[in-house]
């Protein structure tokens, strides 16, 4: 029964994509409404400002529909959209020159005023990630969440593999430090 449902959904998605490809606005709207909440979450991981994140997501969807003819139905459609969103977010941050891959990026960052415990939720995690310098944040999300390899990250961001590894190491260290501090503050054990 479940298998039938999956096949049915796949067929529906395929039909929807083909209709959207022909410029059917209703099919495009259904695709948008199906994927927009998750894609906005993806964009928000990279971009601290919610409005900017939404702008990036909207531009991403315009590209999704613009390049729909390049989707070959060989992999997950959601994964394909997600990759477009990730690249759009990176492009946005680079255009705005938010990305700095150096030590100075650590200076002047405001710490999130949150209490974090062992059962931290997505918003608390996001607040922690938002505290990271953009360079650290991008490498961390691309590697730890999106699952890209250092070589791929290096190509996407125009940096060397060793810089990517170094940024990830520093991001992890900083996140651990912040998490420890928050948990300590949260439980008041100090």
């Amino acid at each position: 029964m479940n298998r039938l449902k999956i096949i049915s959904f796949y067929k529906n998605e395929k039909v929807l994509i083909k209709r959207a490809l022909r410029g059917n606005r209703e099919a495009q709207r259904i695709i948008y409404e199906t994927h927009a909440p998750k894609m906005l979450s993806v964009c928000r991981q990279y971009i601290s400002d919610g409005h900017f994140a939404e702008d990036v997501m909207i531009n991403g969807f315009v590209k999704v529909f613009g390049y729909l003819d390049t989707f070959r139905f060989e992999g997950s459609f959601e994964g394909w959209i997600r990759r477009i969103m990730v690249r759009e977010a990176i492009s946005f941050l680079r255009k705005k020159q938010f990305v700095v891959f150096d030590e100075d990026a650590l200076q002047g960052r405001e710490e999130a005023k949150i209490r974090i415990g062992s059962n931290y939720d997505a918003e608390q995690i996001q607040a922690l990630i938002d505290e990271l310098p953009e360079g650290y944040k991008m490498v961390f999300i691309l590697h730890a969440i999106e699952g890209y390899k250092h070589q791929e990250i290096a190509e996407m961001l125009g940096i060397t593999e060793s810089t990517s590894k170094s940024q990830l190491f520093k991001a992890r260290k900083l996140l651990q430090k912040k998490l420890t501090e928050k948990m300590t503050i949260g439980y008041g054990t100090r």
Binding site: G23, R25, Q28, R29, Y32, E33, A36, P37, K38, L40, S41, R44, Q45, G50, E54, M57, I58, N59, F61, V62, F65, G66, Y120, D121, A122, I125, Q126, I129, A144, I145, R172, L175, Q176, L179
Partner: protein, 229 residues
Amino acid sequence: MAPVEFEKKIKEELEERRLQPSADSWDRVASQLKSSDRKRTGYWPYAVAAALAVLFFSGLWMVRDTNTGQWAGDVVVEEDTPSAVEDEKRPEQTDINSIASELLSESGNNIQQPEEKIIPETQQLVNTEIVPVDMDPLINEKLLEVVAEVRILEEDRDSLTNAEVDLLLDQARQELLAEVNPRGNDTVDHQNLLTGVEMEIDKTFRDQVFEKLKQGFVKVRTAVASRND
């Protein structure tokens, strides 16, 4: 918490997160899609117009009568000089032998009077500045030059080979063609190109100029030889 465990937790939490976009977000996407659709379709009218124009001119080219070298839908217009393209197709208007004889007796060139010429309507549309050239007077004039040159050479030497005569005639032909197309090949303009194409279409045109020169030369020589006898 170990880094790997921590990252796993982060990934799980963020993967499950859904953020609702603002109410007008789809309208923004749709409006951008509309403008990009407009951009995409913006080239079509121009492409269609260009294709139609190409088809139109190709059609005109195809209906052109290749035997007569004229376009379908000819109109009669007044012209001061006849068309070079039509030259070979017109009935022989002048006996080259008599002209040559007259010229030899220093009676001057036989200049043709202006006459009604058929000029294709479409050719006029494409280029109204084409000045047709009648080749006959030019050929005769050039023929005289060749005959005079041959006579000079014959006076200097005992005999002249056919190959040398042919060479002189070929030079005369090249000079004639250069006179018909005086702008040469160093500049590219529509008139030159059109004239060039017209000449290329009538493949035998150049050969016929040469033949005319040669026939005329033989006739003149025969006439001169007969007179001297």
